[in-house]
């Protein structure tokens, strides 16, 4: 069974982000790039399914510039069988354009499962997964916490506000993985060596014209210094008052 895992290269959470001179993009100088952590859960689940079934292929797909193969290589080191790099020098701001490019590539592969992370930790839109599922005409579930496969049937559980939702659907389907779906493995050292020999196919990404445009990008205001309200029990009332009236968080 073929599974496709869509992964994204993102700036590591330790990176100190700077906005580029145009005020619309990130300054990528000095950025440490990582595999989007949510995508790691998706990849791990795909690998576990392949291992459980004892057969099948896991293909990692990513859109991006010449730096992306490094991240794809990490996916291969974790255990993906091969990778496809859809080349695009400029990151598209439009989730629908990205979904179209992915769907154009994934459709002809006819996978049983298409995987995504619940969202990327940079743009936080959580749109590409559901949009791609829609374009591929596949049933889908986003942010899944568990997955059980029985033949052509898949049962997923999702964490929702105040409870859990259980859904059943037919394969092929598309899923986006939530944190906690599994614990992603470390790439083994043999895996890192093996990844060098696995193929990464390069193609242009068919992104088309974006339907939206980023007008401006701003960093959040720097956090002002904390304040010590007082000490001991007598400070509690004042702290509660300030949290309610000044900070307006309770």
């Amino acid at each position: 069974m073929l599974q496709v895992v869509c992964i994204k290269q993102v700036a590591g959470s330790e990176t100190r982000v700077k906005v580029a001179g145009d005020g619309k993009h990130l300054d990528t100088a000095g950025v440490t790039w990582i595999l989007n952590p949510y995508d790691e859960f998706a990849l791990e689940e795909a690998l576990r399914i392949r291992e459980k079934m004892g057969e099948g292929e896991v293909v990692a797909v990513s859109i991006g510039d010449a730096g992306v193969p490094t991240t794809l290589r990490n996916a291969l080191a974790m255990g993906a069988d091969r990778a496809i790099h859809l080349k695009s020098d400029v990151p598209s701001p439009d989730p629908l354009a990205v979904a179209r490019a992915l769907a154009a590539e994934i459709g002809p592969l006819a996978p049983r499962i298409v995987w995504f992370g619940r969202q990327s930790i940079d743009d936080d839109q959580a749109q590409v997964g559901p949009m791609t599922a829609e374009l591929l005409g596949l049933p889908g579930a986003s942010m899944i916490a568990t997955l059980e496969i029985d033949g052509d049937r898949a049962v997923v559980e999702r964490e929702i506000e105040g409870g859990r939702e259980v859904m059943e659907m037919q394969l092929p389907a598309a899923f986006s993985a939530d944190k906690g779906l599994n614990e992603p493995r470390y790439p083994s050292l043999k895996g890192i060596m093996a990844a060098k020999k696995k193929p990464i196919e390069e193609k242009p990404a068919q992104l088309g014209e974006p339907n939206l445009e980023v007008l401006s990008l701003e960093l959040p205001p720097t956090r002002s210094a904390g304040r010590i309200v007082g000490e001991g029990k007598q400070a509690v009332a004042e702290l509660v008052r300030l949290l309610r009236e000044e900070a307006k968080v309770i």
């Binding site: 470390y186 050292l189 890192i192």
Partner: protein, 380 residues
């Protein structure tokens, strides 16, 4: 800066993550309790750390010395006890068989060690043979089908947890270093036992013991290397282990530096973070510079070894410079932290205790200076 290949960057990323998530949480505990971290070593074995630089046909991961050095650095950055356990296994346990073993010996001994199914150790030091390995008293007498060994080795890392021990013994009396050969032994062999368990200043989670041989029979096939090419050549090639000590020292220094950097930015005195004070800034700048210089020396030695070039001088320089750096940096790290740096609540004092060994093990700083001088003067 030397350009790292993609696989080296991947090894670094993976080793760093593993170190932070699996190794670091056990570091204080195993130091405090003098406990060998069998659980962490098992995880390292599963991931292929224990056979990292050895060919796949012998069960290794097929990576190179540089990748191994990077892994030792990252692990030692959070826990030197775990770092030395890995380094002693790979460089000293597996190293001699890999460098001098016959094909049969590699299949029999290197394979299980590289796969991580068995740990390795190396026994050279004796009570009368430290820097002067020629003072080796352990005797190996020729008997029917092999050798009968009597004597003891001290301060042996992994000695009580190893399945295979490579050790040196005198085969010809009165010949100085020339009459010494190396053997490999299964520690289940009758006549072999573990003696005194050492209580150390640092690296307290690593296993350091005495090995005792009492009429211990070693089969003739377990002799490693050709005795006629000499013990000196044997030691010379073991310079590889010195690069790994350099990597451990580099890791310890980095750990202490990273803690200091973070602390200096957060600790406020006289109304500002202490990182704003020139006295602290100068210490941090000096730390960063010495660490960078250590890294270049250590990586260079590894790259030369991988390229099959001479690296004895460079390995000694790397080991010496990085070990002195680790002592200087950990000392200054405590100074930057002040009182809290002296407490066992933070890992800084542990790093300082761990750093000291770097100037002693696998050739003292004095021996490294002798080696470097001999290499540049060529007058011996």
């Amino acid at each position: 800066m030397l350009e790292l290949k993609e696989e080296h960057l991947q090894v670094r990323e993976m080793a760093r993550k593993f170190a932070d998530e699996v190794v670091a949480p056990r570091a204080a505990e195993i130091d405090e309790r003098e406990e060998f971290p069998a659980d962490v070593v098992r995880r390292m074995a599963e991931l292929g750390f224990l056979g990292l630089p050895f060919p796949e046909k012998y069960g290794g991961a097929g990576l190179d010395t540089l990748a191994y050095i990077i892994a030792v650095e990252e692990i030692s950055r959070v826990c030197a006890s775990t770092g030395i356990t890995l380094a002693a296994h790979v460089s000293l346990g597996c190293g001699p068989v890999s460098a001098f073993g016959t094909e049969e010996q590699k299949m029999k001994f290197l394979m299980p060690m590289a796969k991580g199914e068995a740990l390795g150790a190396f026994g050279l030091t004796e009570s009368g043979a430290g820097s002067d390995a020629g003072g080796t008293q352990t005797r190996a007498e020729k008997v029917e089908g092999g050798w009968r060994v009597n004597g003891s080795k001290i301060y042996i890392t992994n000695g009580s947890v190893a399945k295979y021990v490579t050790f040196t013994a005198r085969t010809t009396p009165g010949m100085g270093a020339k009459g010494i050969s190396a053997f490999i032994l299964d520690t289940a062999t009758p006549g072999f036992r573990v003696g005194k368990r050492e209580r150390k200043m640092g690296h307290r989670g690593s296993d350091t013991v005495e090995l005792v041989f009492e009429d211990c029979f070693v089969p003739k096939d377990n002799l490693i290397g050709d005795p006629s090419t000499g013990f000196k050549a044997f030691l010379r090639t073991l310079a590889g282990g010195r690069i790994s000590i350099g990597a451990m020292a580099l890791g310890i220094a980095r750990g202490a530096y990273e803690h200091s950097l973070q602390f200096a930015k957060q600790r406020v005195q006289f109304g500002q973070p202490i990182a704003k004070f020139q006295a602290i800034r100068f210490m941090l700048a000096e730390m960063a510079m010495r660490i960078e210089a250590s890294r270049l020396l250590v990586y260079q030695a590894a790259v030369l070894k991988d390229a099959g070039q001479e690296y004895v001088k460079e390995a000694s320089m790397a080991k010496l410079f990085a070990s002195e750096t680790s002592n200087w940096v950990t000392d200054k790290a405590i100074q930057i932290h002040g009182g809290i740096g002296y407490m066992r609540d933070l890992p800084i004092e542990r790093m300082h205790r761990d750093a000291k060994l770097m100037e002693i093990g696998e050739g003292t700083s004095e021996i490294q200076r002798l080696v470097i001088a001999r290499e540049i003067l060529r007058d011996d």
